[in-house]
């Protein structure tokens, strides 16, 4: 990362922008516009798009990823990152399979998934905060380690035969076309929105991300905030593991591979600064819908998954590059 800041010239405007102007000019407003645009394009592109059940299906494209993205957003705002989330899903799902094979029922299986996720988060968090290690490297390591343990347990096999009651998380519907996953997603969106924007902890997250040293001197326990965020990310990965395993009805060690990329893309698309310090939960929520709509629309047009990943990759770079490009062109004038 280039660390050299150029001296910024600050222009003091004659008139302050009004709150309405600020909302209209925000990243979230732009993103919402994009979402609506994609929605309209999709409904023209395919006659199957505007169908309540199809749209309901489309939400499965992003609900699990978005659950993790909420916690990841906080983590990235605080200046850290967790690339091991997809591997945590694999490990949590494997442990759930083992608990299932040992003859336990749905409650224990779910508990096992959540606890595994939480413990993985603790492991990441302790390594980063206690040993003062860069989170990118630590989580690249645990990314191999967690999924590696799944491979050791499962090899090229799979766990199948989850109890019937377990299917409710990934396949059940709360009412009409509203799936259980969508409800979990909505509840978590509200919870994380409140945590980040309405609590002291949320302010601490921004403070740590903007200037960890200053945060420390103003009485914030930086290490504890970061550890909590890693634990939350782990726990969310555990919840996502429950939903995904329930939806697929089986566990393979390759489950959710590559998902970390989509989660990070979702967070960055949502307007969270990858270098930390800024970002909002509403942004991430809209970004989740944008990504879900794009992948679903392309799916309806029979675009294969790997080609979709080109779009995701381009989206990731594009959303960061374009504002910088414009700023550069503006500065050149």
């Amino acid at each position: 990362m280039t660390m050299v800041d150029h001296i910024k010239t600050r222009v003091i405007p004659d008139r302050l922008t009004t709150p309405t102007q600020r909302i209209l000019r925000s990243w979230e407003a732009l993103l919402l516009l994009v979402a609506v645009g994609i929605f309209i394009l999709n409904s023209f592109a395919s006659p199957y798009f505007l169908d309540a059940w199809n749209l309901s299906d489309a939400t499965f494209n992003f609900t699990e990823k978005a659950m993790i993205a909420f916690a990841m957003a906080l983590l990235i705002i605080a200046g850290e990152i967790d690339l091991s989330v997809a591997s945590i899903i694999a490990l949590a799902s494997t442990v759930m399979g083992m608990v299932m094979q040992a003859g336990f029922g749905t409650p224990m299986i779910v508990l096992a998934g959540l606890v595994t996720g939480l413990l993985c988060g603790v492991f990441n968090g302790v390594l980063v905060t206690r040993f003062n290690l860069p989170s990118i490297v630590v989580t690249i390591g645990t990314m191999s380690l967690f999924r590696g343990i799944s491979y050791i347990v499962l090899g090229d096999g799979a766990f199948r035969g989850y109890p019937e009651g377990f299917a409710v998380f990934g396949q059940g519907y709360a009412f009409w076309v509203i799936s259980v996953e969508l409800v979990i997603f909505a509840v978590l969106a509200v919870v994380y929105g409140v945590i980040l924007h309405k609590t002291n902890f949320g302010r601490a997250v921004y403070a740590v991300g903007n200037n960890a040293t200053a945060a420390m001197f103003s009485g914030i326990r930086v290490g504890r905030v970061k550890l909590t965020l890693f634990m939350l990310t782990g726990l969310m990965s555990g919840i996502a593991a429950v939903c995904l395993t329930s939806r697929l009805g089986s566990t393979r060690p390759s489950i959710a591979s590559g998902m970390e990329l989509e989660v990070v893309t979702m967070v960055v698309l949502g307007g969270v600064n990858i270098l930390g310090g800024s970002g909002t939960i509403p942004g991430v929520v809209i970004a989740a819908f944008v990504m879900g709509l794009v992948t679903f629309g392309l799916g309806l047009l029979n675009v294969p998954g790997i080609v979709m990943s080109i779009f995701i990759g381009a989206l990731l770079i594009g959303v960061i590059a374009l504002p910088r490009l414009f700023a550069k062109l503006k500065g050149a004038k």
Binding site: M1, T2, M3, V4, D5, I81, L127, F131, N132, L133, P134, I136, V137, V138, I140, G141, T142, M143, S144, L145, F146, R147, G148, I149, Y151, I152, G155, D156, T213, P253, G258, L261, V264, T265, V268, I274, L275, P304, I306, V307, S309, I310, I312, G313, A314, L316, I317, I320, A321, R324, L325, K328
Partner: protein, 326 residues
């Protein structure tokens, strides 16, 4: 400091030797010169990529797109070979180097000119490069019988008792060793990573140095791409999937500090060899290959904890506070 770095490499040599002794107690045939040469040959692509990654990490960046770059270059070389079987190997090698360099250039430009964090750039290009392989190949495989004999024979051709693949790695090691320790280019990578502010004041363009690092990493990935496809005589979308993690692991194990500025060619090579020995030893000591992923993960974590401790004893505390104040 030099002595400390040296001792760090001797620790790695010791670890590899201990590993070899341990393996030989279970399976004596592993430590014969012929087999060790085979292990080196098998590790050659990892060594080549690790040296490119080392330069990138030295400048405080990371390149996660190397495996995808390798796969795309490999696929292009294979398809080119199928289309024009008579194309001489040196031309294919040049094309591989140029393709790799081009992809590295794209990464580097985005980091240099647009100031996008390297991890974002290379996560993005990683999926884009892989996706392009699917687009150009239609998801089909290029198999051994479609490739020309000369194409697949090149990396295996024996020269003075070693295959060309091994010689390629040795050449890359030699060139990088000279570049890193004897040229201004090499010194600039260390300067940029060690203290970017000081580097600017000494007249080094930080962004440009990072750009060059990405070009080097991309070029080496391109070279490895042709060698990989020719050696295994097959090209498809997923070749070397997840290999970028092994490459970063080799660097971290080799003592290259992810914070930039610290690391040597010898360290990167030894880190790669450490992983190579483990990978080749697992089957002969009757451990399922499924253990490999977890072992390299554990190795990364242990190495990075170890690195942090080594950094701490180096007495860079004064500099640290200055760095934080930036």
């Amino acid at each position: 400091m030099n002595a400390l770095l040296k001792s760090r490499e001797s620790i790695l040599v010791g670890a590899i030797l201990a590993l070899l002794v341990l393996i030989s107690t279970r399976f004596a045939g592993f430590v014969t010169p012929a087999n060790l040469a085979a292990v080196f040959n098998d590790t050659s692509p990892l060594i080549i990529l690790a040296l490119g990654q080392m330069v990138v990490i030295l400048t405080r960046c990371i390149d996660l797109s190397v495996a995808a770059n390798l796969a795309l270059t490999g696929m292009v070389c294979a398809m080119l070979n199928v289309a024009v079987p008579g194309l001489p190997i040196p031309v294919i090698l040049l094309i591989a180097l140029a393709m790799g360099a081009l992809m590295g250039t794209l990464n580097g430009l985005m980091v240099w000119k647009l100031d996008i964090p390297p991890i974002v750039v290379t996560l993005g290009t990683m999926t884009i490069y892989r996706g392009i392989i699917f687009l150009i190949s239609d998801g089909k495989w290029v198999n051994a019988h479609e490739m020309s004999p000369a194409f697949t024979a090149f990396p295996r051709a024996s020269l003075l008792g070693l295959p060309v693949l091994s010689w390629m790695a040795i050449i890359v090691i030699a060139v990088m060793a000279v570049v890193m320790s004897r040229t201004t280019l090499g010194r600039s990578f260390y300067a940029v990573g060690g203290n970017p502010h000081a580097a600017v004041y000494t007249g080094i363009n930080v962004g440009k140095a990072q750009f060059r690092a990405f070009v080097i990493s991309g070029t080496l990935a391109g070279l490895a791409g042709y060698l990989w496809v020719a050696r295994y005589a097959v090209a498809y979308v997923d070749i070397a999937g997840g290999f970028e993690l092994d490459v970063v692991a080799a660097c971290v194990i080799g003592g290259i500090s992810i914070a930039g500025g610290i690391g040597t060619v010898g360290g990167a090579v030894l880190g790669a060899l450490f992983l190579g020995v483990i990978k080749n030893a697992l089957p002969v000591v009757d451990i399922s290959p499924f253990w490999q992923l977890a072992i390299s993960g554990a190795a990364i974590i242990i190495a990075v904890v170890f690195n942090a401790r080594a950094d701490r004893t180096k007495g860079r505390v004064i500099l640290k506070s200055a760095e934080h104040a930036q």
